[in-house]
């Protein structure tokens, strides 16, 4: 590597950054930063493609671009809709526009008919497109997910989508590095989602602004790739530009043999290189925080941003300021109230945060042989068509259907409620997604973020519930 002669310990962020600098940053100009992988979806791309067409520009590297449809497509089960779900006017135009643009600019598209389509942040890893050391961008803030592979992955706006389409580069200033050191290990029933929520609770929703988080420590090493993705996914909810985990054997095992992973000699070379992608001992972070994973309990949000979070056995804080009062008034909850036992109308298990196979297995472990509470609607939406097929091969869909839950086609669905899937005004939804903003799951809908285990336990109880007693019983019976 060209920087091999440079000395001094470096962070992972610094190493990846340096590899991608085309033109260095100066006081007057940001760096021109090369992008290895550009993911594209239907919602944030049409206006960018329009700019290219207007200016007569080609897409510079269609081979480094991968498109899919996820946000505005229906996910209703096929048996409700016939073979192919229907879409209303604008959504149809958006999906067709992406199809036209991909055909025109020669971009690979995993379209509505593809068995490899899914939520953009689920399929990138699934296809082996997201790899260590890469720069990965997408017109979507949860692009942070791909940092789980030791990539620098972040969301960009539509103007910048146009920049990357036309030049494969972005104008960027180097962000600061924030180490989140997580010691200990997660207890049974406590998941990466709970850790993510606890980190946001500690940092606050703006606490990571201007920073890239590197998650480090024994608890992180012990996480599976799915769990690392959940954690990195939520980095944006602390305001961080990106989140990342240094790659290790867990990463390489996950990537080995995926459709877009390097093969044979190229694989050996890649792994040798990837092993150098870690923060050097003594590397300096701009900021560090410490968390002991062993002390964590399952977490649930009670407010209208993901930082408003308590342990499932805890109470909503008593003394809030104006912000808390506004949030509680929207949520129609009381300060000091225990969050456990709060009745809920709906449970959503899905999204790029928690709709991979392991998430569905966890939900199924709680729902197996049990019933969703009467009157509660439980919606389970796999993260991709491949996750759906794998779950069905294991019979998980039968567990869900027998419990009385709905089993959908893949997509963003109730995470963002722009495809027609939504909660009614005033309804409480325990959701495995990432944002509990006002109206996120439909106007007036009230979202409580939690892990798939907690969501499944809440579906059975008809109220916010700690999953751990159910897990213990399952274990005793086994």
């Amino acid at each position: 590597m060209s920087e091999a002669r440079d000395i001094g310990p470096r962070t992972l962020l610094e190493k990846i950054w340096r590899r991608h600098v085309v033109v260095p940053e100066t006081a007057d100009t940001p760096a021109v930063l090369y992008v290895d992988l550009h993911l594209v979806h239907e919602v944030t791309s049409p206006q960018a493609f329009s700019v290219l067409r207007r200016r007569g520009l080609p897409v510079r590297r269609p081979d480094r671009t991968l498109a899919t449809v996820d946000h505005s497509i229906p996910t209703s089960p096929a048996r409700w809709q016939g073979d192919r779900p229907t879409m209303d006017g604008e959504a149809r135009v958006q999906v067709d526009t992406l199809g036209d643009n991909c055909a025109h600019f020669d971009i690979p598209l995993l379209g509505i008919g593809s068995r490899r389509r899914g939520i953009v942040h689920v399929i990138g890893p699934e296809q082996g497109a997201s790899q260590p050391g890469m720069t990965i961008v997408c017109g979507d803030s949860h692009t942070t997910t791909h940092g789980a592979f030791g990539a620098l992955a972040f969301g960009i706006g539509t103007t910048e989508v146009g920049h990357v389409l036309a030049t494969q580069c972005l104008l960027q200033r180097r962000p600061r590095a924030l180490a989140v050191n997580v010691s200990g290990s997660l207890a049974a029933g406590v998941t990466a989602k709970d850790l993510a929520l606890a980190v946001i609770g500690r940092l606050g929703v703006g606490g990571g602004t201007g920073h890239v988080i590197e998650y480090r420590g024994a608890a992180i090493r012990a996480l599976s790739m799915d769990e690392r993705m959940t954690l990195c996914n939520m980095s944006i909810e602390a305001g961080a530009r990106a989140g990342m985990v240094a790659p290790d054997d867990t990463t390489f095992e996950y990537l080995d043999g995926r459709p877009m992973s390097p093969k044979a000699a190229a694989w050996e070379r890649a792994v040798r290189d990837w092993r150098t992608l870690c923060s050097d001992p003594g590397a300096r972070f701009d900021r560090e925080i410490e968390i002991d994973a062993s002390t964590l309990e399952p977490q649930v949000t009670w407010g209208t941003d993901p930082g408003m979070v308590v342990a499932v056995g805890g109470r909503i804080p008593a003394d809030g300021g104006a912000r808390q009062r506004e949030a509680l008034s929207y949520m129609d909850l009381d300060a000091g109230q225990a969050i456990g036992g709060q009745p809920v109308d709906m449970v959503f298990i899905g999204s790029c945060t928690n709709a991979r196979l392991s998430d569905l297995r966890q939900a199924a472990s709680v729902l197996r042989g049990r019933k969703v509470a009467p009157g509660l609607r439980a919606v389970i939406v796999p993260g991709s068509q491949q996750v759906k097929a794998q779950a069905e091969a294991e019979g998980l869909h039968r567990v869900f259907l027998e419990a009385g839950a709905e089993w959908h086609e893949s997509g963003c669905s109730l995470c963002i409620a722009m495809n027609g899937d939504r909660a009614a005004p005033g309804q409480y939804v325990v959701s495995t997604s990432n944002r509990n903003f006002e109206g996120r799951q439909g106007p007036g809908a009230r979202t409580l973020l939690a892990s798939p285990l907690t969501a499944a336990a809440s579906a059975i109880a008809g109220a916010v519930a700690d999953p751990r007693p159910l897990l213990e019983r399952a274990r005793r019976i086994a």
Partner: protein, 192 residues
């Protein structure tokens, strides 16, 4: 619509809510468009309108005092959440030319500046004053990076130097990137 050299002079409209997220600025169900024009009608939609579409008279933008204000002062930490550029598009289309808060989320700030919407971070002290004085006359001079408000505030602000340069000189960042294509080709050749 670019901020350009012209000094922004306006009264402020104050929305003192903390952590206003992008779903409040423009709810996701309005993102099924393939255009960028006309999004002002969706700005703060669910705060501005009742479910049946009637305007909420208690919302600040629906009050006469907000008429003709080009500068939005928001509560602490503005625009966390999504990367949707529809958020600055909606603010601009509605008529805002600048937003002021204590912190502004990274992606929103960059999206805003690319579209000529000034997204300014100010100190707690300045912010407190602005929040306490809705309708205060302000002037924002991008050339000198100076913000004045009433006769109490006269301060400078920081803004990413290249974004400022582009806005002041009408330089298009995509054009700049395209002028770097030889460097990009050279970089790609070096990696192959």
């Amino acid at each position: 619509m670019s901020a350009g050299r012209e000094i922004i002079r306006s009264r402020t409209v104050v929305l003192p809510v903390e952590n206003i997220d992008t779903d409040q600025i423009i709810p996701a169900r309005f993102l099924t468009t393939t255009e960028r024009a006309g999004l002002g009608r969706c700005l703060f939609h669910d705060w501005r309108f009742h479910a049946d579409g009637r305007p909420r008279s208690d919302f600040i933008l629906n009050q006469p005092a907000a008429d003709g204000c080009d500068v939005l002062v928001a509560g602490r930490n503005f625009a966390c959440g999504s990367s949707r550029e529809h958020a600055p598009w909606a603010l601009l289309d509605y008529g805002f030319r600048a937003v002021i808060s204590t912190e502004i989320a990274d992606i929103f700030r960059s999206n805003a500046l690319r579209n000529g919407l000034l997204a300014l971070e100010v100190t707690d002290e300045v912010h407190d004053w602005l929040i306490a004085h809705p309708g205060a006359p302000v002037s924002i001079d991008l050339e000198s990076c100076r913000l004045r408000a009433g006769d109490a505030v006269d301060t400078t602000f920081e803004i990413e130097s290249f974004a400022r340069y582009c806005l002041l000189n009408g330089v298009d960042p995509l054009g700049y990137l395209l002028s770097r294509l030889p460097d990009i080709e050279c970089y790609e050749a070096g990696r192959a």
